[in-house]
């Protein structure tokens, strides 16, 4: 029985790799957009998601039952209550709205059903990340499968981006690689860098330096490809890691070249930040690579957030607006029911269940952090890598629809696995 459980737990990273591939497929636009158009069409998209979520839930339930995993009572009660709360919200959230001169808009039943199922799935996903994936840490044989796949995909995307070339319809540097937007491309690069960070920690000797070099290479590529959000997220994360490596610590895995390299690296990033910020001819050029995308995305998304928050009032302030929250701003502004993604993970959580969901989201992150600290804090460098990249990921949560623990999107899935399911299992003795 124990051997069967060990095999099952060993399979967790491989299963998550399959799930990551399933989540990345709907993002692939080039070289041929036929598949993208088909999979994202209204008729297919919902069913594809149901199959994806169904596979995940079946596997998670098997892991749960086989391991007889029981979360501590207090967390179990919280999840149970949030589930019950979600059921109550199904009856509270509006499905019909009157706008303009007494025109009525009713949400399609299928869309409402998918939205509600997605809400419950996100909750279960969070439960799985917090309490089921950590079982994979006990059997770490295949722990590197997902990170390696993520790195290879990121490298392939960078190579293809340079082969395909720049999209000239934008005023700033804009590369999309395999994807329709450079936002998805940036996410793939970010995931690749995070994975390289943990793989470098895990590697020995010269391989570690090769992986660090590749990580820095991806960071530079993010800059050259005009992915400024990714670039500054990665720069911020790597600065934290560099600071940790340079500071006096007992971790014997940190060598002298690594320490001095991190100091030089930190100074270079600071120099680049200053050169980009201080107005000059050079700064203008640098901004087209390191700033324009960030400004463009932030200003366009800011309008969406404002429109959404201005559209909610009365009791919806406490419990969010549910699916109607994606339509209400466009209904009030133009009279047309257009689905408008909220482009902010935190606002999406708030829209789903208001104050309670938002608090639960932050509490889940606190629970995750507490578990991580308990298990990994004694491995200072590993802990720093995980915290730095996850902290940078929260910037993505603000600017896009990614949500830590509450989303099975490609980037959220990879970050959740590396945060909660990837064991360090690396000691100074191993290194020797």
């Amino acid at each position: 029985m124990k051997e069967a459980n060990a095999k099952l737990n060993r399979f967790i990273p491989i299963f998550l790799t399959i799930l990551a591939i399933l989540s990345v497929l709907p993002m692939m636009y080039y070289p041929d957009p036929t598949f993208y158009n088909w999979i994202n069409s209204e008729a297919v998209n919902g069913y594809y998601w149901i199959i994806d979520a169904g596979i995940f839930m079946i596997f998670a339930l098997i892991v749960w039952i086989k391991n007889r995993a029981e979360p501590p009572l207090r967390y179990g009660l919280m999840f149970l209550w949030v589930m019950l709360f979600s059921v109550i919200l199904m009856f509270i959230h509006e499905r019909q709205v009157t706008y303009g001169s007494n025109a009525v808009y009713t949400l399609p039943l299928f869309s409402v059903a998918i939205f509600e199922v997605k809400t419950f799935y996100d909750l279960f996903f969070c439960f799985a990340v917090l309490f089921l994936w950590p079982y994979g840490k006990k059997e770490p044989r295949y722990k590197n499968v997902l990170p390696i796949a993520v790195v290879l995909f990121a490298l392939a995307s960078v190579v293809y981006a340079f082969i395909r070339g720049r999209d000239n319809s934008y005023s700033y540097v804009y590369y999309t690689s395999f994807f329709k937007t450079n936002e998805d491309f940036g996410k793939v690069l970010f995931a690749g860098c995070f994975a390289l960070g943990v793989l470098a920690y895990d590697a020995k000797g010269w391989l570690r330096y090769v992986l660090i070099f590749l990580g820095v290479g991806l960071l530079v590529a993010a800059g050259l490809l005009g992915l400024s959000i990714t670039f500054w997220c990665l720069a911020g994360a790597s600065l934290v890691i560099a600071f940790n490596l340079y500071s006096p610590q007992k971790d014997r895995l940190v060598s002298k070249p690594l320490k001095w390299g991190s100091l030089v690296y930190g100074l270079l990033v600071l120099l680049l930040a200053l050169l980009t910020a201080i107005p000059s001819a050079l700064a203008t050029t640098l901004r087209s690579y390191f700033g324009d995308e960030l400004v463009e995305v932030f200003s366009s998304h800011l309008k969406i957030w404002k429109a959404y928050l201005d559209s909610i009032s009365s009791w919806r302030i406490f419990v969010g607006d549910g699916l109607m929250g994606y339509y209400r701003p466009s209904l009030l502004a133009t009279g047309q029911a257009t689905y408008t993604p909220l482009q902010n993970g935190i606002i999406e959580v708030y829209n789903g269940g208001g104050l309670v969901y938002l608090m639960f989201y932050f509490l889940a992150i606190v629970i995750g952090l507490a578990k991580l600290k308990k298990e990994e804090a004694h491995q200072t460098s590993f802990y720093a890598i995980i915290i730095a990249f996850t902290g940078a990921f929260l910037f993505y949560t603000i600017l896009t629809n990614e949500r830590l623990f509450f989303s099975s999107n490609y980037l959220s899935l990879v970050v959740a696995y590396l945060f909660m399911g990837y064991p360090h299992h690396k000691t100074a003795e191993d290194e020797d």
Binding site: W81, W315, F318, L355
Partner: protein, 151 residues
């Protein structure tokens, strides 16, 4: 006192305690909501004043009740609840959020509907979230009890 009578005694005071706590949390959240509506539109001063008054009364009541529930047999019976204070605090805010939804619906949409000309969503959402966090912290420490039974 026989044990069944003791149990009933505890159940009665626990019910009163939790009821007052939910009223306190609800009035706290609602006061933030009405404050936001007042700042933007200036149309809910009576509702805001009444709800703040209710909050002050319930705060005073919860203070005395907590003292009562921290001593003697009531205090020892409360230990089970005190160990789950994290969940308790979260449940309190969640329940208060639902009751607030109903209360605001009654005031804003049923009994006294007035036209809010300026959108107040961003301010109200921020203030209510702040209120939720403060209430969570307050309840968490409240559930620790007082005196000798404090955890």
């Amino acid at each position: 006192m026989p044990s069944s009578s003791k149990k009933n005694h505890f159940r009665f005071w626990l019910t009163v305690y939790l009821l007052i706590l939910v009223i306190q949390a609800t009035s706290f959240l609602c006061s933030f909501y009405f404050l936001a509506e007042n700042i933007r539109n200036g149309n809910r001063w009576i509702a805001f004043g009444s709800i703040v008054l209710l909050n002050l009364f319930s705060l005073a009541a919860i203070h005395f009740l907590n003292r009562k529930m921290s001593v003697g047999t009531l205090g020892s019976s409360m230990q089970a609840l005190r160990t789950s204070r994290f969940t308790g605090a979260f449940l309190n805010v969640a329940l208060a959020s639902l009751v607030s939804t109903a209360l605001v619906y009654l005031i804003d949409d049923v009994f006294y509907p007035t036209l809010a000309t300026t959108p107040y969503g961003p301010l109200a959402a921020s203030l209510v979230f702040l209120g939720g966090i403060l209430e969570f912290i307050f309840t968490y420490y409240l559930f620790q009890g007082q005196g000798i039974t404090r955890l």
